[in-house]
Point group: C2
Chain length 439, copies 2
Amino acid sequence: MSKIVQPRTLSGFMELLPKEQILFNNMKEKIKAAYERFGFLPLDTPVVELSEVLLAKAGGETEKQIYSFQKGEHNLSLRFDLTVPLAKYVAMHQGELAFPFRRYQIGKVYRGERAQAGRFREFYQCDIDIIGDETLSLIYDSEIPSIIYNIFKELKLGDFTICMNNRKLLNGLFASLGLSEIASDVMRIIDKLEKIGKENVIAELKELGVSKEAIDKVMDFIAIQGSTGEVIEALEGLQIQNEVFVEGLAQLKEVTENVKLFGVPEENFKIDLTIARGLDYYTGTVYETFLNDYRQIGSICSGGRYENLAEFYTTKKLPGVGISIGLTRLFYQLNELGILEEAKKSISDVLVVPAFDEIKQAIVISNQLREAGINTESYLNDKKLKAKMKYADKLDIPFLVIIGEEELKENLVSLKNMLTGEQVKVSLEQAINMIKKER
Amino acid sequence: MSKIVQPRTLSGFMELLPKEQILFNNMKEKIKAAYERFGFLPLDTPVVELSEVLLAKAGGETEKQIYSFQKGEHNLSLRFDLTVPLAKYVAMHQGELAFPFRRYQIGKVYRGERAQAGRFREFYQCDIDIIGDETLSLIYDSEIPSIIYNIFKELKLGDFTICMNNRKLLNGLFASLGLSEIASDVMRIIDKLEKIGKENVIAELKELGVSKEAIDKVMDFIAIQGSTGEVIEALEGLQIQNEVFVEGLAQLKEVTENVKLFGVPEENFKIDLTIARGLDYYTGTVYETFLNDYRQIGSICSGGRYENLAEFYTTKKLPGVGISIGLTRLFYQLNELGILEEAKKSISDVLVVPAFDEIKQAIVISNQLREAGINTESYLNDKKLKAKMKYADKLDIPFLVIIGEEELKENLVSLKNMLTGEQVKVSLEQAINMIKKER
C-alpha cells in the first residue's frame, strides 16, 4: 500500500467542478468567437519566458509578484500578463507580420498576489490588440468599443456601459496647472475615486502637495457629466489652451462620434472623465466597462491606446490600441452574484441507455446519433436503469434515449425529455429531429 | 531612450506565426469537438501545483525533468502531464462527480528535457479518461478506439492504424517463463522493438539475463501477426495455461470484437503484440496509433486501461481507461513533413476596404457582414488601395469587399475573390451569399 498524500489545490488557483467549467468555457468561447468575428489572429506564446526578457520593463510591485526560478543556466519567469509577450513577439517577428497586426490571445497569467476572495494567482486574460507599423489610424480607437459591445451583448450579463476618456485631457489639464511632474501620481489617485470617494481623493491630493486651486480645478473637471455631446461641449467651454489638452479633446470628440458608426447604441457608451487607468503605459483613449446593475465589481473590460508597444525590445515605433478581459475574476464574481447564464450546463445532448442488456444496440444507435451531429454519450456500465437515469439527471443531460426489448422489437426508441419528464416512443429519425430542435 | 533587451523565446517552447497558429488551433478545435461529441466533460486544472502533491508518485527520470521552485513557504511545480492532476481532482471531488466520470483536458504541460528538434519543454496534451467508481465495464475499452478513429478521420492525415494489445498477455507469458520479477524491464526492451530492431532487443534481453529458451518464446510471441481473428487464434494455439494470460486473451478477444460495433472499420485497427507502453501504470488494454505513411514519427495517440488512477491520494479504487495526444509534437512533425491540411489559413472571411476615403461606409458595411455571421475585418489605416490588397493577400483572406465612389452611387459593392482574382459588382446581399457559399 502506498503512502496517501492529501490531494489539494493551491489557494488562488481556480479549479472548477464540471458544470461550472462548462459555463466558464461557454464564456471563453463566446469571447473568442467575437474576437475572430472581427478578424483578430490567434496567438499562443509560452507561459515560461526568460526573466531578462519578460522583466525588461517591469519593476516595483509587479516584479515582486512574479513567479521566477532558476532552471539549469537560465533564470525563468511565468508571464504576468499577455502584453509583454506580445511586445516581444511583434519585435521578434516584425518582418513577417502584416500591419496593422490584429491579434487575440486567451491564456493564463500568473501573479503571486496575497490570496483573498476574488483574487487569483493564476487567471485567464482575454486580450486583443491592434498594432500599427509606425502609425495607427485613430479610427481603430472607435472600433474597440464595438467589439466590447458585441461581446457583452452576447454574454447576456444585463445592461452595461463602456466608459471612455483620453489621457491627453488629463495630461494637458495637469500641465496647465503646473502638475506635470506629479501627473502619474495625481492620476493614480483620481483613478481611485470610485473606490475611496471624493473626500479621500482630495485628502490624498493635498497630501501630495497639490494646491487648493489646482485641486478645485481637477475636481471640477472630473465632475463633468452628461451625454457625450454635453461633455464635449463642457470641455470646450473650459477654454484650456494647452496644446496636449486641445489634441486630447479633438481625439475624444472624433472617437466618440465614430463609435456610433460602428453600431454601438448611445446607451451603451459614455465619456467618463474620472477614468485614467493606473498604468503609465496608455497615452490616448482609455476604456473601462461596467455592468450597470453590478458597478461594485469594477471594470470588466479595460484598455486603451498606447504610443509604443515594444520600446524595450526594438527601436521601431509600434503604436497600438487594445483591451483585456480578466475572465477568471469576472467568472468568479458573476458566479458569486448568481447571474451566470444557466442555459447549457451539459456537454452531451443525449444519454443512450440500454434498459437491461441491449448494450450492442445502444452502441449502434449512439454511433448514428453522433453521425447526425449530436453530442452523445452511451451509458455502458452494468447498472440498474434507475441508476442510469440518476446519472443523466446529475449531469443535466437534456435527453435520454432508452433501448429496451420492446423498442427493439418495434424498431423504435424511447425518448425521454429530462426537463419535462415526458417520454415518447418514436423512430430514431424522429428522435434526432426532436433533440436537434431543443438544442 | 530605454535600454534594448534582445527579444527571444526559450528553445523547446513552441511559438508560431499566425498562419501556423491557425492550423494548430484548427487541429485543437477538432480534437475538442470530437471529445465533446462523445460526451466528455471539460476540466481545466492549474498549471502550478504543490510539489508534494504533484510528485507523490513521480521518481527517477520524470522527477529530474520537473520545473520546481520555491514561492513563499511553498515548494511548487509545473505539471508534467494531465493524468496526475486528474487523479488529484477525482480524489478531491469523488463525492461530487457522477461516475463513470468522463473528462477531457487540453492543456500545456512542462518537462525540462534536453532541447532537440521535435522535443518540447512546453507542449499540449489532449487527454480523455473514463473513470469508474470501484469498477468500469470492459466495453469502454472498445469505445476508446472509436474516438481515436473519429478524430484522425476528421483531421485528414491519411490512413492510420490503431494498434491494440493487452498487458495481461505479456505479464502472463512472462510468469509462465519465470520472468515476472523482471517483467517491467523486459517490457521496456520489447517496447523499443520498432526503434532499435529485433537483434538489439535480443541482445538487450540476453544482457538482462533472460535464457535463450525464454527469449525465443518471447520473440515468437511478439512475431504473431495477422487479422484480429488470426492473431486471437494463434494466441489460443499457444495453449498457455497461465491464469493472467488466459484472462488477457479473453479481454483482448472481447475488446477487439466490440470495436467493430462502435463503427471502426477493420482496416483501421489491429492487434500488435509488440505494443507494451513503457509505463508500469497500464494493466490491461493498451493503444498506440500510427499514420500508415509516416510510421517513423511514432505513435500519435496512445493510452490504455489502468487498475487504479489515484492510489496515492485515496484508498478508493478508481479504475479507468484513457488516451493522450501530444499535439505540439504531432503538429511539429506534420508541419516538417508538409502534410498539414492547407484548407483554412485565415480567420477573416472577408476584408472590407475603402477604395479612397469611404471609411464610414466601409464600417457600416462591415457591421452588416458581421451580423450575417461572417468574420469581417475592416482595413481602416490610411494607405493606398494596392497596400490594402497586399495586406489581404499576405493574410490569405479569401474575399475583398471594395467600397468606392462608384459602388456607393449604385448602392453596390465590388467583391473580389482573392484566389481566382475574379471581381464582380453585386448587392451586399449577393456578396454575403457568395462569401458564405465559399466558406
